[in-house]
Structures are given as C-alpha cells and as structure tokens.
C-alpha cells in the first residue's frame, strides 16, 4: 500500500517534470519555424568579415571605428585571403557564413557562379580604392627608372633572347638595358600564395608577355634561381634588407612604402612615379583595385551591416585625407567614389554581366 502510493507520487512528479521540460521545447519549435520565414529575425550580434589580407587593415580599421562610435558590436575581421574569403562567403546564406568578404581583385565570375549556385544571388559590390604595387630600393641609391618590359626581363623564369625563349640569363640590371645601373639583380617579393604576387604577375608579366611574339600567350612564371626571393608580405625585414643591401629591390604594396619612406624610395614604372594621384588616375601601371562584397540577405538579420558599409564608404574613411589613406589606401577619384558610394547605399545587385565586362 505504502509502496504504491509512493509510486503514484513519483509518477506525478515525473509527469509534471515532463510537462515543464516539454513545454518549453514545444513553444520553441514554433519560434524556430517562424525564424526561418521571418527575415528580420536577428541571427548574429557581430558582423563577420573575411577575405583579402591587403584589405584586412583597412577593413578592421573601419570595423573598430564602427564599434567605437556606435552601439553596434565591433565586427570580426579575419584575413583569409581573397580566394579563401570568396569560398567562405559563397558557401551559403546560413548564419555561420560571413556577411562581407574583402578582395584585392574583383570577384571572379567563377566565384560569383558558386555564390549563385548556393543561393546567394543578392550581393552588392563595393570598391574602396587602390593599392599600388611599388618597386622599391634604398634611399641612398640614385633614382631608378624601369619599364614593365625590363621588369619582366628581370623576374621571368624564361625570357626571349634572339627570338627564342631561354632560361633567364640576366644577373645584372645593365645586362637587360644599358641605361640601367650595373647592379646585381636581387628582388625581394611576395610568395606564391599572395595576392600582391598575383597582381604583379598579371599587371607586369602577363600584360607584357601577351604582346611579345616569343611567348605567344600570357606568361606568368617567376624565376626560381634565387634572384627573386619570396618574402613575407609587409615584412619589416624586407626594409632592413633593402637598407643594408643597396643592390636589392623589393616588391610590395604602396601602403608599406608610405610607412617606410625614410628608408626606401620607389622606382618609376614606364616613366610614371608611384604617387597617389597617379595610382588612382590609373596612369601608374602596376596598381590594383580593392573591393568588398556584401551579402544583402543578411542585412537586417545581422545588426549594423548598413551602418558599417556606409561608414566604410564615407569620405572620412576612404576620401582624400581620410583615415584609411593615412595607413596607405589610395582613394578613388571623386566622381567614381560618389558613384560607388551610391551603389552601396542602394544595395545595388551584382550581376554576372557586371563581372564579365571587367
């Protein structure tokens, strides 16, 4: 008798417990379902940004500014490289995928196609400015004037000699052209995984080689006989190296030159000096554009995306004299800047045609 009454009490307790535990889950189930249909439900507190290591400093600066001057959380910025960023960005529209990806080149059509395939069709493109690639040497040398063809001769694996492609025989600059100084060729440049190297290959090697009959097609292989030394990007040691070894030249981003102006100077390329005005006007031939891409599906679900992009595109950031130019960004010309800003403000949709035109 006693036992069975205890048993009854116990059963009652456990039923009550079940009700208590079960109730919440049941209520939550509906909440979760509605979250899927309701597009304004917040999925995350912080904006997540991935992508190019070149845009990373600018992007994180703008992110910090957003965190410090508004009530939004500071966005998380990860430097994954342009390609890695596009991969993460285009994985889908889920909450764990990034909201924005930075790129030191325009999005590739293939990357856009992946995005579309995974259901991300509403993307807005933003262009923030340029980064010039400079060929720098020690300040104690006289000025150096190079052409892109001479650069190709100094850096390519195979070069045309007498109408034939041969392994690069040049060891001194003046072997390439009498006008160049009699100095050994030693070039510190970015490694193969770097976007700066991609840009250098595209803007120097490929653009020159496709016009040279000996190559017949675009050629982009950099010599590996030790004259070209791959070094970490934005590596302070490169500057020390250039300072010590006056023969050496370095290839890096303009922003890095800006920081180390006391020690190194840039060579002119095709007669154009590497100054912001020439880079943003496009007359300096070795420069690349910097971009970021916004996943519009996440606007409203992650707070602050609109505010972040607006802040990033403002003159205070990317205009002449803006804080990002202090750390090396080269601003867009005024007209284009206004146009780009409008594109972002209107969340204009990126299409495959826009990328193909490029």
């Amino acid at each position: 008798m006693l036992n069975s009454s205890r048993w009854l009490v116990a059963a009652g307790v456990s039923v009550a417990l079940l009700a208590g535990c079960g109730e919440k889950p049941a209520g939550e189930t509906t909440a979760n379902n509605s979250a899927k249909s309701d597009s304004t439900k917040q999925i995350r507190k912080q904006i997540r940004i991935v992508g190019s290591s070149t845009v990373y400093p600018f992007s994180s600066y703008a992110a910090e500014e957003l965190g410090a001057t508004t009530d939004f959380s500071t966005p998380v910025v990860e430097s994954t490289g342009s390609g890695g960023g596009a991969k993460l960005f285009c994985e889908g529209t889920g909450k764990s995928t990034p909201d924005i990806t930075n790129a030191s080149r325009r999005m590739k059509s293939s990357e856009f196609a992946t995005c579309v395939k995974n259901g991300i069709t509403n993307i807005t493109e933003a262009k923030i400015g340029y980064d010039g690639i400079v060929i720098a040497q020690s300040r104690s040398n006289g000025p150096l004037n190079l052409t892109r063809q001479q650069l190709l001769m100094a850096t390519a694996e195979q070069v045309p000699v007498g109408g034939q492609l041969v392994p690069n025989p040049y060891t001194n600059w003046n072997q390439i052209d009498q006008s160049l100084p009699d100095r050994e060729i030693t070039i510190y440049g970015p490694p193969t995984s770097s976007g700066t190297r991609d840009a250098f290959e595209e803007l120097v090697l490929e653009s020159v080689s496709k016009k040279m009959p000996e190559y017949g097609k675009k050629y982009s292989t950099i010599r590996t006989d030790g004259k070209y030394i791959a070094s970490g990007e934005n590596d302070n040691l490169i500057v020390q190296k250039l300072d010590k070894n006056r023969n050496a030249v370095g290839i890096f981003g303009y922003s890095f030159l800006e920081e180390n102006k006391q020690k190194v100077q840039a060579a002119t390329i095709d007669g154009v000096t590497a100054v912001p005005a020439n880079i943003s006007s496009g007359s300096y031939p070795v420069s690349r554009s910097l971009w970021f891409y916004i996943k519009n599906d996440h606007i409203g679900k992650v707070p602050g995306i609109t505010e972040y992009t607006k802040l990033f595109m403002s003159d205070e950031m990317i205009g002449e004299g803006g804080v990002l130019t202090e750390i090396g960004l080269i601003p867009l010309p005024v007209a284009e800047r206004n146009e780009r800003r409008a594109t972002v403000a209107n969340s204009a949709k990126l299409t495959a045609e826009m990328l193909a035109k490029h």
């Binding site: 912080q46 990373y56 910090e64 993460l88």
Partner: protein
Amino acid sequence: MDMTAEMTPERRAELDARVQRKLKKRYRAAKRFHFYCVGSLVLAISFLAFFFTDMISKGHSAFQQAHVQVDVDYAEKNLRFTKRAIAEDMHDIVSRGWLRDLRRVKKENPELVGTKAVAWALADDEVDQYLKGNKDLTGDDNTVEQKALAARIDALKADGKIKMKFNVGFFTNGDSKIPEMSGLWSAMVGSILVMVLTLLFSFPIGVMTAIYLEEFAPDNRLTQLIEININNLAAVPSILFGLLGLAIFINFFGVPRSSALAGGLTLGLMTLPVIIISTRAALRAVPDTIRQAAYGMGCTEWRTVRDHVLPLSMPGILTGTIIGIAQAMGETAPLLIIGMMAYIPEAPEGFLQAATVLPAQIFTWAGMPERAYVERTAAGILVLMSVLILMNASAVLLRKKFERRW
C-alpha cells in the same frame, strides 16, 4: 709471474710512470667530461635567462604609456568632430583613438558637455615610442616635420605636460588598430573561455579512458590499439589538429568558425593524450593492496576505483591536467587554421561567439608593422608566461604537497 720476478727496479719505475701518465690522462678526461656536462646545463639555463632578459627588456616599457595634458573644449559641436575640441598643435600628439572616444562623453559624462577642462589624454604611439627611446625622430633619416615634432614633445615634457602612467588600457582594452589603444582584455577572456571548454571536454574523457585502460581493459588487440593510438596522438604535430578542427568541427558539425567552442574542442582533443598518460601513471602508482582490500570488503570494480583508487590518485591526475591545460593555453598553430587569428576586439560573451586567445593575439601583434606593437607583443608574452609559470608551479606544489609515496 716470471716477468715480475725479472723486473728491474728501472723497468718498474718506468712502468709506474707510464701508469701514472695514463691515469693522469684518464683523470683529465674525466674532468673534461664533467666540465662538458656542467657546461651543457649552464648553457641550457643561460638560454632561459637570456630569453627572459630579452623579453623583459623589450616588453617592460609597454606597461607604461605616455599621457599628455590638454585643454579640452567640450562644446556640443566639438563632440562630433572631436579634433576641434583640442588645440591644433596637439593633433599629432594626442592619440586619434582618444579623440574618437571623446564622442562618448555626451553619453557617459553629460555634465561635461559645454564646459572646458584640462584632461590627461592618451598620447599618440609615435610620441610614446619617442619618449621610450624606441623610435628616433631626430636622426639624419628623419624629415623636418618629425624633428619639429620631437622638439615639441621635448618642450611639453620639460613643462611637465607629458607623463608616463601605468598602462591600464593594456589590460582593459581589446585589440585595436591604433597601437596605443590596444590591449589584452578580449584575448584574456577568450583564453579563459577556451580553456574552460578544453578542460570540460578533455578532463572527463581523459580520466575515463585512463581508468578503462588501467583498471578495466582486458589485454586484447583492441586495448593495445587504443594504447598505441594514444601514444601516437601525443606526438601528432599540432597543426594537424587544426586541419581536423576545420574539417570535422567546423565544416561537418557546423560549429561556428573562430568560436571559443571550435577552439576548445580542437585543443581538448590535443590535450586528451596528455591527461590520459598522466592519469594512467597516477593510477598505476596506487598499490594493488588498496584494490585487494576493497575487493575483500565486497566492493565492485567500479566502487573500488571510485571510492579508493581515484581519490588516492587525484593529486597526480590534477597535476597532469594542469600541465596539459597550460600546454593548450600556449598553443597557436591549430587555431590559425580554424580562424581564431582574426581581428576580434570585443571580449566574447558566449561560447559560440568569435574569440581570440593570448597566443593568437601575440601572433597578430608580432606581424604588425608599427614599432609600438613590438613592445606590446613582448609584454603580452610576459603576461602569458607569468600565467603559464604560475600554473606549472601550482602543479608542482600540488604534487609535492599531496603526493604519497607507497
């Protein structure tokens, strides 16, 4: 026998001398060898001394930060474009970050709005580095503007308007792109969260595995496989755990990238073998008589372990666990792969939010071009090393205090 009998005193003396010479040589060799051994130990320890001296000399200055006295005009209109709030010749001396934060005055100290006051502002990193002697502004390489700036700084210092203060921000701020504003706060919080998860994950599983292997497992193929496997895991390069974390936890299980959870699970797997191996050693140290006594009293296998073996081996287990966690706390390579090497200035509020940890912060700062980050990197290292040494010392003390020799 005959030979000794025939030996003349001369010959004997000569032999003696030879033996003496040989002995001398052998003793010299023994001495030399002794010397090499001492030398090696001294060398190893002097590396350690050199390392710490180097880090302290590089990092100590980061615990002080230059502050400059400025007249601030908190007029309403100035709080939007905060550069106007201070005199123009102070613009390159006061930190840009400090100016930016002036905007918050309206919200945080509304009574200041519309008044004028003297404030100690954070100085720009160039000023700070110049005062600490880390950056030369007056040498031949410097521009005219830099030399002028140096002169103004010297003048302010002579007036007592620039002062070094304890760098509170280094412990209360998160990461920043403005060197003088950057601090360790978010990384410290991140480290704690990640370590809590690592512990929660690896401690129970590690101890259970060890108990199984030491107390329950039959000696069969499976047991041997598990044993070999654990030994191997302890030697697998840590970067491979990063690849595992990326493929399994992030891509397959959908754990958010860069989150404390992803880091904790990855590091937990890495710490597992350390905990298993030390727990097994601790269990093995408990003499069998204890177990037999328990069985004799009618305890089941599990009760024996739970009530007798485990409590007796706890000090050893905890020591091993602390050492394992300390190791995980300094680990960086796998976190590089799972996205914790990002710009994450805010301390995470939950296990699923993006987090960074102390060694990751050190790595990020080490790659920054500004001079001011070098001292911050070294100071970060000093903080991390103090925590690690503290943990290891407590492990040693624990062992000393509670270890029982049977």
